[in-house]
Each structure stands twice: as C-alpha cells, then as structure tokens.
C-alpha cells in the first residue's frame, strides 16, 4: 500500500482523486454505487447565492470522445447547500469542497461569507470559468484583472483553503494563474470546460438550446495536460488537474505534469465506479513501480 495522502497547502486529503464539480451532484447519487468517502474529495455542484433553475434543454450533446454541456449552474443555492447537502455529506464522512459562482463580484463575496465557519467544510473552489452562464461565469476567468479581483474579494471573506478554478479559454493560462496566486489563491484547479458547439444537421440548428456549451471528457485531455504542465512551471501553489481523466494512467499523466491531485468529471457518467477504480489502479501502479507515496510522482515529467 503506497501512501496516497496528499496535503495541498493545508488541504489534507486521504487520496488525490477528487470528484469534479458538476459531475457528482452533492454525492447522493454515486453513494448508491460506493461509499463516497472513498473519493479524495468532493467538489460539489456549482453553488450560486440564490437557487438557480439552469438553462433550457437540450443541455447535453455528445462529441467525439467528449461531451458538451450547458447546464447553467442549476443548483439549490448556497443556503440549501448548508442546511441540506453539507450535513448529509459530512454524515457520509466525505471531504467536501464548495464550488462557488457569481454573476457579480458581490455574489462571490456573499457566498464566501455564508460559507465561512461552516463546520466540516474543507475548502472553497471559486469557479471563474463557467462557460454556461450569460453574466459573469467565464468572463471573470479570461481577464487577469477580473480574476485577481474575484480572488481578492473572496480571500477577504474566507479562512478556508482557497482554490481558484481556471478557464482554458485563454491565450495564456499562466498569466491568469500568476494573477490569482498573487491575490492569495492557495491552490489552482484546472481546467474547466472548453467552449464548444455542435450542430444538428437535420434541424440545421445548434444541438444545445443555448447554442454553445462546455466541452469536457477525454477529447480535452491533451489541452488540459499542457495547461497543467505550463501552470506548474509558472506558479508555486499546488494544482488540482482535471480534464478527460478516466483511468489511473490519465491521472498519472496529470500528476507527472505537476498536479498534486486530480479530479474526475464526466468519466463518472460513463463508469459510475470510475473514482474508486482509478484510486485502486493508482495504488497498484505505485506499488508495482516502487513509489512509497503518490507525492513522489508529482512533477516527474517536469524534470
């Protein structure tokens, strides 16, 4: 048994394989497949200040080795999260990370304020990269000044480890990474989805009701990996890598590229047992290759 524990700037996790936000709800569904405390951490569905109904359907389109989604942050709101979801998650002994979203800078601040002091909450992940909402969303994550400002504001209101989730839809991800780290981000998570589109040739219209959506899945893995690799060389904070991870081999690619932990998104849709499978295979690989701990793999390909 290799040591799978990781410590990301104070965020202690039993293993480095997390559930990516929006791909695991609030854990209830996959808890019917395995005890969700097995996941290194759970980044819950993106929270907004008020409950949010999300976008019209179709919200899902399959693409080659990937999928587009335009959920639009459907969620019960931060207060319902605190009263209904968080207690249940903690009763399952899950390591919970709140993913927060805003249409305006004040929204981020207010959510952070409400989450401050929530017993048991492990960290806050700030989504400045959602491509599926018209106001805010990705807009905050594609401009270094805006990204800095969001980080600065949230930092003021939280003492929890602060994760900033970066958008891949930028010319230079290291610029944004440096900007948010200088404002107090403890950890970076990347990548969110790539802005994409699919057209239904039959109806001659975009397949998604909202026309564009976020691309994720194996198709984006090379882009995600490159960005993790670039970012790991640009900043000194730990990185949670994600984008197309569906096997322990994929996870190892991200770890070797410099991520300290990884998150699994739509692979859970394809294989509900993806997370425990990846953890098991990762462990077996580390043992076989003679690594004492998963930490020893981090950044191997950077040398």
């Amino acid at each position: 048994m290799a040591d799978l524990h990781v410590n990301l700037a104070g965020l202690q996790l039993s293993n480095p394989v997390l559930a990516a936000s929006g791909c695991f709800g609030f854990g209830r569904e996959y808890n019917e497949f395995y005890p969700i405390r097995q996941a290194g951490g759970i980044m819950v569905k993106g929270l907004t200040l008020e409950p949010c109904a999300g976008n019209p359907t179709p919200r899902i389109a399959e693409t080659p080795a990937g999928m587009l989604n335009s959920i639009g942050l459907q969620n019960p709101g931060v207060d319902a999260f605190l009263s209904n979801e968080l207690p249940w998650l903690l009763s399952q002994e899950a390591a919970v990370i709140a993913n927060i979203n805003g249409h305006a800078l004040e929204d981020f601040e207010e959510i952070a304020r409400r989450l401050q002091g929530a017993p048991g909450l492990k960290a806050i992940e700030v989504n400045i990269s959602c491509p599926n909402v018209s106001h805010g969303g990705m807009f905050f994550g594609t401009d270094p000044a805006m990204a800095s400002e969001v980080t600065r504001r949230v930092r003021k209101h939280t003492s929890l480890p602060l994760i900033i989730k970066l958008s891949p839809n930028v010319t230079d991800i290291t610029e944004i990474a440096r900007a948010v780290v200088s404002e107090g981000a403890d950890i970076l998570s990347l990548i969110n989805t790539l802005l994409g589109m699919a057209i239904d040739v039959k109806t001659r219209k975009p397949l998604l009701a909202r026309k564009v959506g976020g691309l994720s899945g194996p198709a984006v893995k090379p882009v995600a990996l490159r960005m993790v690799w670039q970012t790991a060389q640009a900043v000194d904070v730990p990185i949670i890598g994600m984008g197309g991870i569906s096997s322990a081999q994929d996870a190892l690619e991200f770890l070797m590229a410099g991520a300290s932990a990884v998150a699994v998104g739509c692979a859970s849709f394809v294989d509900p047992l993806a997370i425990p499978r990846i953890i098991g295979d990762l462990n077996a690989w580390l043992d076989r290759e003679g690594f004492a701990g998963v930490r020893d793999v981090v950044g191997l390909a950077l040398r």
Partner: protein, 299 residues
Amino acid sequence: MKAIHQASLLKNRALAPQLYEMELLAPQMASVSKPGQFVMVRIGENQDPLLRRPFGLAGIDPESGRIRLVYQVVGRGTDQMSHWRTGRTVDVLGPLGNGFTWTEDPGRVILAGGGLGIAPLLPLAQALRSAGKEVTVFLGSRTESLLFGIPEFSELGCELQLATEDGSQGFKGFLTTPLEHFLCAQALDAVFLKAKEASEAGAGHAHVHTHAMLREGMKETGFHQLYACGPSPFLKVIGNLSSRYGLPAQLSFEERMACGVGACMGCAIQIKNPDGTLKTSRVCSDGPVFTGEEVHWNG
C-alpha cells in the same frame, strides 16, 4: 448499492428494418426492475462514442433472469448495437429511474405508446393484467413495420387500437386522434347512460357536453389511469386529454442524458410544485415517469 451489470447477450434480432430487439441475461437486474424503468448501455470500451445510451425496459423476466430492449437504429450507437452478436458481454447500468405505479386492484386503464414509446408499455401491461386490470392499449408509429408488441399485448388480453401515420395499419394519422375519440365516446356513453337512468328516474338534463360532464362521465367508465410513453409532443397531447377528461396520466419522458443517475442535471424538465411554483427536476432520477398534472408544458 446500485451496480453496473455485465450482461450476456442472448438474442439480438431485427423485428423490422431498423428495429431490433435484444435480450440480455442479467438476473440481478431482472429481479429488481419495474416497468417504466430504463437502463444505460455502454457502446464500446473506447472513448468514442463516449456516453452510454438510454433504453426503456421492454421486458423484465425475473424467473429467467432476462431483460429485453427494443431499439431503433437512429445513429451510430444503435447502429453498432445492431451488429452485436449473441454471446457477447454487454455493459448495462440499471435499472434506473422510477417506474410506473399502479394499485393492486381491478379497474380499467389505458396505455398509449408512440413509436419506441411502446417498449416500456409491454412489461407494464403484464403487471397491470396480473393486478387484474382491464387494459386498453393504443399503439402508434410512422408505419406498420415499426409497430411492435401486438401479439404480446393481445396474448395478455389487452384490447388494442392501432394507428400509423401512413395508414398502413389501423387509423391513418396520429394515435392521439383515435385515443381522443375513444375517450370522448366512453365518457359520452357514460353520460348518456346516466342521463338515461336519470330521465328514466324522471329528472331532465340538457344535452350539452361541458368539460365537467365529460370528466363526470369518465369517472363512471371505470377508467382510472392513463399511461403513456412517446415523443414529447405526443405526451403533451396526452397531458391535455388527461386534464380534459379528468383521467390521471403517468407520462414517461425522454431527454438527452449524460449520467442517467441524477448527478449531472443534463436531463432537466420543468415540474410544478403543489403551490404552483416551478422546479427543475431530472428526467432520469426523478422520472422518467411524471404525472400529467405536475408537468409544466412550456410553449
């Protein structure tokens, strides 16, 4: 604990051009599945096509441990499925969603299936017949060759009414037309009967068919539930008929799905709360069956 099943493919044959049935040996799944539930089938081991494909359960046999799917080839996933040979292992996730519900007592019910929506009505009819109900089944499709299940429904002792868009079998046009005629006739008959009884008893009634009268008549017929599955414009018409005739409906919906288990929020549907406000529910895990009353029809 929910689970993924490695089912053995027992049968995979064409019922008509582009229409197939598949039988899978999946004893654990067969033992817990209910009519109206569905499964998600994995197409290949590679990353493309990526997502599982959802199919309603068209047969559930706990004794033999078999489940049955009926599917139409509409794209590359179903195309690939149609080439699978028996003996192969199929990766199936399910049963998913909540099925239809019914009471274990006699009574009269109507089933309406449009296109592939016929599939989940097969195990439902079986269950309803076992419960002792009188079952009238309306089946509709584009053309005769795509109508399936007729022998099964007949064997179960269901009354059958058919419709095809091209008129190659039964009524020419949409299924909802004969269904409406049927409901109307049943309700009116009951109204007349009551009127007759009433007039024989000496009372006098004006013969104006108000909606209230039709609903009143419907109650008399003994029909107490409508079940439907099919494309969403079809379900909308059924939902309309349901409220017009005061006949409660259980409608099984389809939506593009990614996870199938309720985690991704991909398969949203607008549902009315009792207080009239709206909430977004998930077709996969809150449905796929919703009552006609609770669905919010937009547009």
